[in-house]
């Protein structure tokens, strides 16, 4: 007889409400049916009542973790409709905050992941260092988690000299700390016991399953939209995607740790190249036409589709978030795993249900 249990929505290892109906035979998962909808709010309908400026605040709240980049990507999508060029300083600022956001997001994930395999003190280590990034955010944009720094046409905040000094100083102290954490994730015997070879996806499988972000790159696919000409700032910043070959939970962890270093590098480069000038251009009128904008979020590639109809309100807004792309891969990786591995495998795609369901 198989064991059938609900896993979620309210479950301490799942910070977000998602429910899996697990069928387990001999401690091995044989069937899984995800249940979504616990955080479906219906954001895409909001454009009927909110204008394109207000919609930005809603997009930021698609998910509180990568909210900065949601705001940026939305703004860039609308800017594409208007066909305006954002001042260069604003572009750099967006990158700085965006990458800081990624650092906080990855540290957060590393912590939750550690918690997922019962390593509480490692979880605390990760979150301890993450706070320094949040302090930067609080000081520079006025809020720890939801930043509201982007706006259509540029950014709403600027970085002062002292802010920049603080950021550089924080990064200098953060980097060795990350090295410490990395050692544990990469070398600890029990951690490796849990992660190596778990939920392996081959390069081909990860590609065809439509996964995104570290999940995709952990399987050896060097795909990161920061490389595209879409957002050419990154080209100037000497960006390289972080890729691991093995495709297991261990590899995905290493990708995210590698991206921490990459982000630190990007922030430093962006600061060193930060031009002077305006931080926003005024936007007038109402958008028309269709545009697709992509951006690499901490969890992977996000796709924004916007369609204007010549009024302040958009006609259609559609967001394909990274977790949305990654969830189907769970259907492939969960069967065959042990029950104790379920939280790890779920967490390994860095799920963000709130953006999946919007």
């Amino acid at each position: 007889m198989t064991t059938i249990i609900p896993f979620g929505p309210q479950h301490p290892v799942l910070p977000e409400p998602v429910s899996l109906k697990l069928e387990i035979d001999n401690d091995v998962v044989v069937g899984v049916l995800p249940s979504l909808g616990y955080v479906h709010r219906g954001l895409e309908k909001f454009i009927d009542t909110k204008d394109y400026n207000q919609t930005l605040y809603i997009c930021e709240r698609i998910c509180g973790i990568c909210s900065a980049l949601h705001g940026v990507t939305y703004a860039r999508a609308v800017e594409k409709l208007f066909d305006v060029e954002v001042p260069e300083r604003a572009q750099y600022l967006r990158v700085i905050w965006g990458e800081l956001n990624r650092i906080h997001s990855h540290l957060l994930w590393l912590g939750l992941f550690a918690d997922g395999f019962g390593f509480e003190s490692l979880f605390y280590e990760c979150w301890k260092y993450r706070e320094s990034v949040l302090d930067i955010m609080e000081m520079t944009v006025g809020n720890r988690v939801i930043h509201s720094m982007a706006k259509v046409g540029g950014t709403s905040k600027d970085l002062s000299k002292e802010h920049i000094d603080l950021i550089l100083k924080t990064l200098d102290t953060l980097e060795p700390k990350i090295k410490d954490i990395e050692k544990v994730f990469v070398n600890n015997y029990t951690v490796k016991k849990r992660l190596v070879g778990l939920a392996t996806m081959s390069k081909q499988l990860a590609y065809e399953a439509g996964t995104a972000g570290p999940t995709l790159r952990g399987s050896g696919n060097a795909i990161d939209v920061r490389e595209t000409e879409d957002w050419d700032i990154y080209r100037d910043l000497d960006f390289k995607p972080v890729v691991e070959k093995d495709g297991d939970c261990y590899a995905r962890t290493k990708v995210r740790i590698g991206e921490l270093y990459e982000s630190i590098k990007l922030v430093r480069n962006a600061i060193s190249k930060l031009p002077n000038g305006e931080i926003a251009v005024p936007i007038k009128g109402s958008p028309t036409g269709e545009a697709i904008m992509r951006c690499e979020m901490p969890r992977g590639e996000v796709v924004y589709y916007v369609k204007g109809k010549g009024t302040k309100n958009l006609e259609r807004l559609k967001i394909r978030t990274p977790t949305f792309a990654n969830i189907p891969s769970l259907l492939l990786t969960l069967p065959g795993a042990k029950l104790a591995d379920v939280p790890i495998i779920v967490l390994t795609i860095d799920p963000c249900i709130s953006c999946t369901e919007r």
Binding site: P9, Y38, L43, R61, C63, I65, K128, R144, C352, S354
Partner: protein, 156 residues
């Protein structure tokens, strides 16, 4: 004072954007270390005293919320964290949003903000604790929140 020294919380993410949730979790981490007050994030409602709810309520999470509330032994308090949980916040008029948590279960304290700082959440817990003490003294019990037929409706 026994209750106030050992608040065990259960965190229920109802319909939230994660902003509030990560701040709730941040309260437990070394920088804020809510365990200084004996606070534990206990996984099961059966052992919790304080129900920390983040996010507004939607049609799917409503019976989860009720079930969890009913499974917390008295005395208990409910703390709504963030604009969403308090009033529905920015999502208050979304089609799938019923509203703030107090539309469904009695809420004892609210924490404003989107998202609130961990300090604010700690303030909220402290406020909740005195309410908890009062409830114990006055032997005030939470009413069993019934699941309405409509809410448990299935397509089976």
């Amino acid at each position: 004072m026994s209750l106030a020294k050992s608040p065990w919380i259960i965190h229920v993410n109802c319909n939230s954007c994660n902003g509030c949730d990560i701040e709730v979790v941040a309260c437990l981490t070394p920088l804020y270390d809510a365990e200084r007050f004996g606070l534990l994030n206990i996984g099961t409602p059966k052992q919790a005293d304080i129900m920390v709810v983040t996010g507004s309520v939607n049609y799917k999470s409503v019976n989860v919320l009720k079930n969890i509330y009913n499974q917390i032994p008295d005395p208990k308090v409910v703390l709504a964290v963030g604009a969403c949980a308090s009033t529905g916040g920015i999502f208050h008029d979304c089609y799938n949003v019923i509203g703030g948590v107090d539309q469904i279960i009695p809420v004892d304290a609210y924490v404003p903000g989107c998202c609130p700082k961990p300090e604010a959440i700690i303030d909220g817990v402290v406020a909740a604790l005195s309410i908890l003490e009062n409830k114990k003294k006055g032997n005030i019990r939470g009413k069993e929140v019934k699941l309405k037929g409509k809410e448990v409706a299935s397509n089976a």
